[in-house]
């Protein structure tokens, strides 16, 4: 327990985090790519075509993990943002701010694959379905956070302000989602469901789960890489960065 606490506190130090992130990043990449390769093979080759949707359903193996990740990343970002606003450790600010573009990218992927999937299934690229609409609002919230972060001259001040916005957004997200659901039922009646009433077949489920885990590891790898670059930029006046940069050029 004591060793864990010590390690946890050390992680709050940028030079230590930089080395640690550089150490685990290749492992995260390897696991993410392996899982994605197996998951995609299982999903695109092994899984049988769907009885109703034919081969078009296979986009699910990208769409659903991306949609789940769009909320998962927001959750991680909101927790780091909360820590950043209350206790102001630099690493929490960095993790929150570097999560935002990744989350926005996952949200965009979910929106694009969703509309591509919607064309053969619903006959249109876009419909004001509750899930699509709240995903779009989530994308705008991500963009607002990124925009506010870059509006400040001082990155640390921008990170704290954007973290506060992320907290407000976290309170508002469930309200947005349920109000959109309410709005949709008021205007449209029944909506198209992603899954039919029957549960998904096991031959389709395991690649989906693998892809979901792969997306998590990809997020971890990407976050480590982005945080390392952000740390070098934020701490560019510090000695450890100078040592790091000189050391890297000397070795390679």
């Amino acid at each position: 327990m004591n060793a864990f606490k010590l390690w946890y506190h050390k992680l709050g130090s940028p030079p230590y985090f930089y080395v640690f992130a550089g150490y685990i990043q290749p492992w995260l990449w390897t696991i993410a790519l392996l899982l994605a390769a197996v998951g995609l093979y299982g999903g695109l080759v092994l899984a049988p075509p769907d009885a109703l949707q034919g081969d078009a359903f296979r986009i699910i193996f990208v769409h659903v993990p991306a949609a789940w990740m769009s909320l998962f990343v927001y959750g991680v970002m909101a927790v780091s943002a909360f820590v950043a606003v209350i206790w102001r450790p630099k690493m929490a600010e960095v993790l929150a701010m570097e999560s935002a573009p990744i989350g926005a990218a996952f949200t965009l992927i979910a929106l694009i694959t969703g509309s591509l999937w919607g064309k053969p299934m619903w006959g249109t690229y876009w419909t004001w379905d509750a899930r699509l609409t709240s995903e779009l609002v989530l994308f705008f919230i991500y963009l607002g956070i990124i925009g506010l972060y870059h509006a400040f001259d001082d990155p640390r001040q921008g990170a704290r302000a954007a973290s506060f916005l992320a907290m407000i957004g976290a309170v508002n997200l469930p309200i947005v989602h349920y109000s959109v659901v309410w709005w949709n039922t008021l205007h449209q009646g029944t909506t198209v469901h992603y899954f039919g009433p029957s549960s998904i077949a096991p031959s389709m489920l395991w690649p989906l789960l693998l892809m979901t885990i792969a997306a998590k590891f990809y997020y971890g790898a990407s976050l480590m890489g982005r945080s390392r670059v952000a740390l070098l930029s934020l701490e560019r006046g510090k000695d450890w960065v100078a040592d790091e940069v000189r050391g890297d050029t000397a070795h390679g």
Partner: protein, 228 residues
């Protein structure tokens, strides 16, 4: 010199803000003019067909009022930031959230109240049924303070940045989606002769919550944005 009481400080802030707005009362009319012009553009864009305009009248007025309020948000802290009055508010012995609550009330009185007066006229011009008119007014009465509270919290966050107009709309509009949905939902239900109390009750509940939380959140946001 002893510090002013809480009520006294609140009243002083409110009177000061209202007096400043009164001295520049031409500026206060701009959001109203903006709302009128934007609402006038819709018949030009969609055609003068009465049935169509009557159907969208409630939504058009709501969105127009929202945009007009957004337009005025940028100035809420601008003047005080430039002349240093904002720093004095941060240093004041009274709680910052109390002073900001006065600022929020002044903003609502100066910006939203004239819009509330002009909104029924706009709705009438677009052909909203008379039965839905009181519902629209009630919805605006609940939605505009909510927008003011939420908007000023976000404006406080952008106080330290250079140009924040477009950024503010990017931040505010996604978060304002539920307000628009419930306010327009109530008007739409009234137009169809359905019960419309439930969405308004949701708005009122949100307003009660925001009245308590928004001044505190705004004080935190301002301290973050000005880095004190």
């Amino acid at each position: 010199m002893s510090a002013a009481s809480l009520g006294g400080a609140f009243r002083t802030m409110l009177v000061r803000d209202l007096l400043l707005a009164w001295r520049r009362r031409g500026d206060a009319m701009l959001p109203v003019l903006y709302a009128i012009i934007v609402a006038t553009l819709f018949p030009f864009a969609l055609g003068p067909e009465h049935a169509l305009l009557a159907r969208i009248a409630g939504g058009v007025v709501l969105v127009t009022v929202l945009l007009a309020m957004l337009l005025a948000l940028d100035n809420v802290f601008r003047g005080d930031l430039d002349d240093g009055a904002l720093e004095q508010m941060l240093l004041a012995p009274q709680p910052l959230s109390l002073l900001l609550a006065a600022r929020m009330l002044a903003y609502w009185l100066v910006t939203a109240l004239p819009l509330l007066l002009v909104a029924p006229v706009l709705a009438y011009m677009l052909g909203l049924e008379p039965a839905a008119q009181p519902v629209l007014l009630l919805a605006l009465l609940l939605a505009t303070p909510l927008l003011a509270l939420l908007g000023i919290v976000l404006t406080a966050l952008t106080a330290g940045t250079r140009r924040s107009g477009m950024l503010l709309s990017l931040m505010l509009l996604p978060l304002a989606v539920p307000i628009v949905i419930f306010a327009a939902g109530a008007v739409g239900a009234a137009q169809q002769g359905l019960p419309w109390v439930a969405p308004l009750a949701w708005l009122a509940a949100a307003l009660a919550l925001a009245l308590v939380l928004a001044p505190l959140a705004c004080a935190t946001a301002l301290r973050i944005a000005l880095d004190t």
